[in-house]
């Protein structure tokens, strides 16, 4: 996945404004992507947003191995990203977690493919995509564009 390809969905944290309304009609960012079908916000969204919010309660050493308290901006950006991804048809509920560096993180794994996504406070995303059926599609990097994540998560 390279930054800035296949049209702009997210061009940076400051532009993550997708609205996960129940109607599923106002996700402007993803609506520009013709291959992605939209839906109403799924039932799991509120629970996952609550889990992201709860990350802010964690203090230093929350993991008992020296993990840092979670950055508020990282949680905010992750919440907006999750709202946007949730209204894309086919995107499943992620595991909401945190990195020892103090950032919010989202993980998907269907047994064949996995995506680990760490949300940096500056709006960049560090990702690792592994495809156990075709290692040539493995990918990792740091990007400020979230467009490719929806594509990955709907091509399970």
């Amino acid at each position: 996945m390279t930054e800035g390809t296949a049209g702009v969905v997210f061009s940076g944290a400051e532009t993550i404004t997708a609205d996960a309304s129940p109607s599923g009609e106002s996700c402007e960012a993803f609506s520009r992507q013709p291959v992605l079908a939209l839906r109403s916000a799924p039932a799991w969204l509120d629970e996952r947003i609550g889990q992201l919010r709860s990350l802010l309660q964690l203090q230093d050493n929350w993991d008992s191995y020296g993990g840092r308290a979670i950055d508020r901006q990282s949680v905010e950006i992750a919440t907006q990203l999750l709202k946007a991804l949730a209204v894309v048809e086919g995107v499943e509920a992620p595991t909401v977690t945190a990195s020892p560096d103090g950032n919010a993180a989202l993980c998907w794994d269907n047994g064949r493919r996995s995506l680990d996504l760490e949300v940096m406070p500056d709006g960049r995303f560090e990702y690792v995509f592994l495809n156990e059926e075709d290692a040539s599609k493995d990918d990792e990097g740091i990007t400020s564009s979230a467009e490719g994540f929806a594509e990955l998560l709907t091509a399970w």
Partner: protein
């Protein structure tokens, strides 16, 4: 008793994994595994702390968290095989402490470049021990792979 001899490939190592608020485990196969973020090296540290099963039982590992003021109820234990860790060109070094004679660390080999995916690959080799497995180990049975 402290044991700083080289760790055999056949050994199993354990790591505490926070299991609620937040979840650092995720479904995998018929059970659960640790997330990649749970096994990576924390900031400012040289290695990812673990414990050797032959010297530190799962319950002992969980009990150690109370020394830090935490609650063992917030954690589960994942296991990794040393051979799987080393297959990723990571090192496993015995570093016993007063509190944990089985303490060891997963470290990067000096001078070697590692992609970020090494932690995702490592996480996929982990498996969260079930309550039945923990009870069985505590009873003296060997961990069945």
């Amino acid at each position: 008793m402290a044991d700083s001899r080289p760790i055999a490939d056949e050994e199993v190592i354990l790591k505490r994994v926070r299991a609620n608020d937040p979840h650092c485990i995720q479904p995998y196969g018929d059970g659960y595994r640790a997330t990649s973020f749970a096994v990576r090296i924390p900031p400012g540290q040289e290695g990812s702390s673990c414990s050797r099963l032959r010297l530190t039982s799962p319950r002992t590992l969980l009990s150690l968290v109370t020394l830090q003021g935490g609650s063992s109820d917030d954690y589960l234990v994942c296991r990794m095989r040393v051979t799987d860790v080393r297959a990723l060109n990571l090192e496993v070094l015995a570093l016993p402490t007063d509190e944990d004679p089985g303490h060891c660390e997963i470290r990067k080999t000096v001078g070697q470049h590692y992609p970020a995916s090494v932690w995702s690959r490592l996480a996929k080799t982990t498996r969260i021990l079930t309550a039945a497995e923990v009870a069985s180990i505590e009873a003296g049975d060997e961990l069945v792979e």
